[in-house]
């Protein structure tokens, strides 16, 4: 950590470095930001090649962004704070040329804060409709429904996008760029489409069966969770985290609870920690089972869905008994858990562990070994390790490209450091590898469960937490491994009972943004394979 501080101090003496929540935070002017980004990315020691997220911020006098960066070599985190005082026409320099994933993150910041990124090739609204008035996450946003009435007209399409270019003399010029060519045959795959796994829309330009370009159009289930959270007190905000990636409900809750507990200085019991981890892993198995079923169904092998759902049902029954719900569990709470585990929880988990190996073997036999499945998946949707990092493709999809990005190993939390499990990686980087990595992750999760099922310590499941929870002034950043990749939450508190800013970092947004790159030049059928193998969840990216 010292090296980061020293190095930046040497290279950019005008920058100030502070430590926020254990992470060095560099504050720098916008005019030096691009140069600093280049240095952070390309310096041999720092090598910050993974842009975790861009947090848009409104500090009332200033607008700005906090960039969270990570080096995939030593897993050191670093953040950069860039601000602007111009509220009328805020502009920052884009870093989309350094980290690909910045392109979509900057669009998100533009959508919510109206900050224009100079040099970003695509400055359109991301989630909100193109004629939305105002930028909702600004503190002075006018919420009058009359301003943005519900339209009964068809939504207007954006066939062009804006890009802002800096001329040599320092002037900023706005350019309008056509998204598709004049003669492109554009097919709408979605928003209502069986293979998009939710309400996502791919505007696909095809040449016969070959894909030329894909424009991902999202926001159909945007609910403004980040905005809603700013009006709720901390325990209330938790409820939204089951509704992002609804298959990683436990993991996401775990993240927010860890974060708030750390900020408030609450130490939870070991029993609660163990149960939380067990729930995470059960959820991971259920999620990966569903992935296998729906992915095979996308490829036309409908029968497989029923085989994997059989296992998933068994897990949902375990959840049902303990949490009282099959989805949207709302089980983890600040201080521990909402309720203790069901009396036969241990027996149920053991029964599940007993049937798992035979089932995995069966899946392998029926699908993975099939020659058609192999032809459909092998070599399809290849993404190299470097590209996976640049596009922010985390989770099993990133690990299939050889990027060891499991947060349980890179930034261990809860009791994971004590557990014996492997980080599953592959090197092929194709759809088959993504499929196989998930299959092997089920085995690893089962291994974790087997270690814990007989070792759930006695104790209270929830510690005492003040009725009115106030967090001290400050900001925190917490990452966990969701079922689909790195999930993180950034929280800034002004000392009140409500978050000043709560930024959710969903793993599925970069996954969807990488689809265009991965499908270019492939067949329409491959779009389905690639989309399925990335396994994104639309409510997670839309929030």
């Amino acid at each position: 950590m010292a090296t980061i501080t020293e190095k930046i101090g040497k290279l950019f003496p005008q920058a100030t470095v502070a430590t926020v929540d254990g992470v060095p935070q560099v504050s720098i002017d916008d005019k030096d930001w691009h140069a600093l980004a280049e240095a952070l990315r390309h310096d041999a020691d720092l090598d910050m090649d993974f842009l975790v997220t861009i947090v848009g911020m409104d500090w009332t006098e200033t607008l700005g962004c906090i960039y969270y960066l990570e080096s995939t070599k030593n897993h050191l985190l670093c953040s950069v704070k860039v601000t602007t005082t111009d509220r009328e026409n805020p502009m920052l320099h884009s870093v989309a040329d350094i980290w690909h994933v910045a392109e979509i993150y900057e669009r998100e910041v533009y959508d919510f804060f109206g900050i224009i990124f100079i040099g970003n090739p695509d400055m359109r609204r991301l989630f909100l409709s193109i004629d939305w008035k105002g930028y909702p996450l600004r503190k002075d946003y006018d919420e009058d429904p009359a301003l943005n009435p519900i339209s009964i007209e068809s939504e207007r399409q954006s066939d062009t996008t804006d890009t802002y270019v800096e001329l040599p003399d320092g002037k900023i010029e706005k350019k309008t760029v056509e998204i598709f060519g004049k003669d492109d045959f554009v097919v709408n795959i979605g928003p209502q489409h069986p293979a998009t796994h939710g309400v996502l829309r791919f505007r696909t330009a095809v040449d016969g069966e070959t894909i030329k370009k894909i424009d991902v159009y999202m926001g159909y289930i945007h609910r403004g969770v980040e905005k809603l959270c700013e009006k709720l007190n901390y325990p209330q905000t938790l409820h939204y985290f089951d509704r992002l990636d609804y298959f990683s409900g436990h993991n996401y809750h775990h993240c927010v609870c860890n974060l708030i507990e750390r900020a408030a200085g609450i130490e939870i019991s070991r029993r609660a920690k163990v149960i939380r981890v067990m729930m995470d892993e059960l959820g991971r198995i259920a999620s990966h089972c569903l992935f296998m079923g729906t992915f095979c169904m996308d490829l036309g092998a409908t029968t497989m869905l029923f085989y994997t759902l059989r296992v998933r049902e068994q897990i949902l029954d375990i959840m049902d008994k303990t949490c009282g719900a099959r989805m949207s569990f709302n089980y983890e709470c600040i201080g521990g858990l909402m309720a203790d585990i069901a009396p036969d929880f241990r027996e149920d988990v053991k029964a599940l562990l007993a049937i798992l190996p035979a089932n995995l073997k069966e899946y392998d036999k029926i699908f993975t070994g099939n020659v058609i499945a192999k032809n459909r998946m092998e070599g399809v949707g290849y993404i190299s390790k470097e590209d996976a990092v640049a596009y922010g493709v985390t989770g099993p999809s990133g690990r299939a490209s050889g990027w060891a990005c499991d947060v349980r190993k890179t930034h261990p939390y809860s009791i994971y450091p004590e557990l014996d499990f492997e980080q599953v990686t592959a090197t092929e980087g194709d759809s088959m590898a993504r499929f196989k990595v998930r299959m092997r992750e089920i085995e690893e999760s089962a291994k974790i469960l087997a270690q814990l099922v007989d070792n759930i310590p006695e104790g209270e499941y929830c510690v005492k937490v003040p009725k009115v929870l106030k967090l001290p002034v400050g900001s925190w950043f917490e990452m966990v491994e969701g079922c689909r990749g790195t999930f993180a939450v950034y929280l800034e508190s002004d000392g009140s009972t409500k978050p000043y800013r709560l930024k959710i970092v969903p793993p599925c947004l970069p996954l969807a943004a990488a689809v265009d790159y991965m499908t270019s030049g492939q067949k329409i059928a491959d779009l389905i394979t690639i989309g399925g193998s990335l396994d994104y969840i639309v409510p997670d990216m839309d929030r």
Binding site: I189, P194, A301, T303, I372, A373, A525, I528
Partner: protein, 358 residues
């Protein structure tokens, strides 16, 4: 073997006794038309039920089990639902072609029914180019699918129908070649003749290795020809919503749906004609007692039984395999199936020339 032609002869003679010749033929055609429609509808309903039950068994489910005993009435209920559904009127379509397409598809499959060997003496027309006629009329179906895709004025249907066109035209080559292979063995193109040739032994046993190869190729190409999984790209629901019939509703959609099941029956029927002796019971040379017992099973049961058995195999394909991609599908035909069938044809001719078959 009971010859059922006495029934048809009796009807013919009775009608002739009080009607002039031309009127007799007209009345008989009407009877056959009505009979065919009835068989068509009943077979379709049976197949829908059959596929649901078979598929359910593969997927650890029960399948239809609420409407009627063992869910038997489920497909009837579905048929009535389909009949009373609205035909949605669409804008921006080519109305005439849009309405014509489902009829073309259904007519193609109905005409193929005319030459199937239903039973001993129960064939509607038996002429000397029967199998050739069957291949010809079943190719009309692709025209209906292409029209459906084109006239709907929709991008999904267009891609679906073009896929379908490429697929069916390609796979017809393999079908044609395997049929020619078997015609070589039988020495006749007449459907009745082909069945009669198999009275001692079915072709699949008689024809040695080339007949077995032809059978496998025919089953693969036939599955592709019916647009069923793993070759269901034209309607690949996860890619093109419903492919060429995305825009169809009500009974127009129903026609495509029926035609798909009936084509399944036709492909299985032709396979049983070419390889498993049509309505011919299982005869083994030398086993007279066994052959006589087999003769007691009515010929209609033999034919439909074989067809249903072969359909089971095709349904099994569908519920096991994932779907191919268009380039893989065409590569399979042009790089593997067609060359193999060509070589197989030569092999068959050699075997016949040297008299190596049984």
């Amino acid at each position: 073997m009971q010859d059922l032609s006495f029934i048809t002869d009796w009807i013919h003679n009775t009608l002739l006794s009080f009607l002039p010749g031309w009127a007799t033929v007209t009345v008989e055609c009407l009877f056959i038309g009505v009979g065919l429609l009835l068989v068509y509808a009943l077979l379709a309903l049976f197949y829908i039920y059959y596929e649901r039950k078979v598929c359910a068994a593969f997927q650890c489910r029960l399948g239809p089990n609420r409407v009627g005993p063992w869910g038997l009435l489920q497909s009837f209920a579905d048929m009535f639902k389909m009949l009373i559904k609205e035909l949605i009127d669409l804008k921006h379509i080519d109305r005439f072609l849009f309405a014509l397409a489902p009829y073309l598809v259904i007519i193609a499959s109905m005409m193929a029914f005319a030459v199937l060997p239903w039973g001993n003496g129960l064939q509607i027309v038996d002429f000397n180019i029967g199998i050739f006629f069957l291949i010809a009329v079943s190719s009309i179906g692709v025209l209906g699918i292409l029209l459906a895709g084109w006239s709907s004025n929709n991008k999904f249907t267009l891609i679906g129908s073009l896929r379908s066109g490429a697929q069916m035209v390609s796979y017809e080559i393999s079908i044609g070649l395997t049929v020619v292979t078997m015609v070589c063995l039988s020495g006749t193109m007449s459907v009745g003749g082909i069945v009669a040739e198999q009275s001692d032994l079915w072709f699949i046993f008689k024809g040695h290795v080339p007949a077995l190869i032809a059978f496998v190729i025919y089953m693969i190409a036939g599955t592709a020809e019916t647009n069923r999984g793993p070759f269901d790209l034209p309607e690949a629901e996860s890619e093109l919503t419903a492919g060429y019939h995305t825009e169809y509703s009500g009974m127009h959609f129903g026609f495509f749906y029926l035609a798909e099941y009936l084509n399944l029956f036709i492909v299985s029927g032709v396979a049983s004609l070419l390889f498993l002796g049509g309505w011919m019971p299982l005869h083994i040379p030398g086993w007279e007692a066994f052959n006589n017992i087999m003769n007691y099973i009515p010929s209609v049961v033999w034919f439909i039984g074989k067809a249903i058995f072969l359909s089971f195999i095709i349904i099994w394909f569908k519920w096991t395999f994932p779907r191919l991609r268009i380039d893989q599908l065409l590569a399979l035909e042009w790089k593997y199936l067609m060359p193999i069938s060509l070589v197989n044809l030569v092999l068959m001719v050699l075997i016949i020339t040297f008299g190596w078959h049984f």
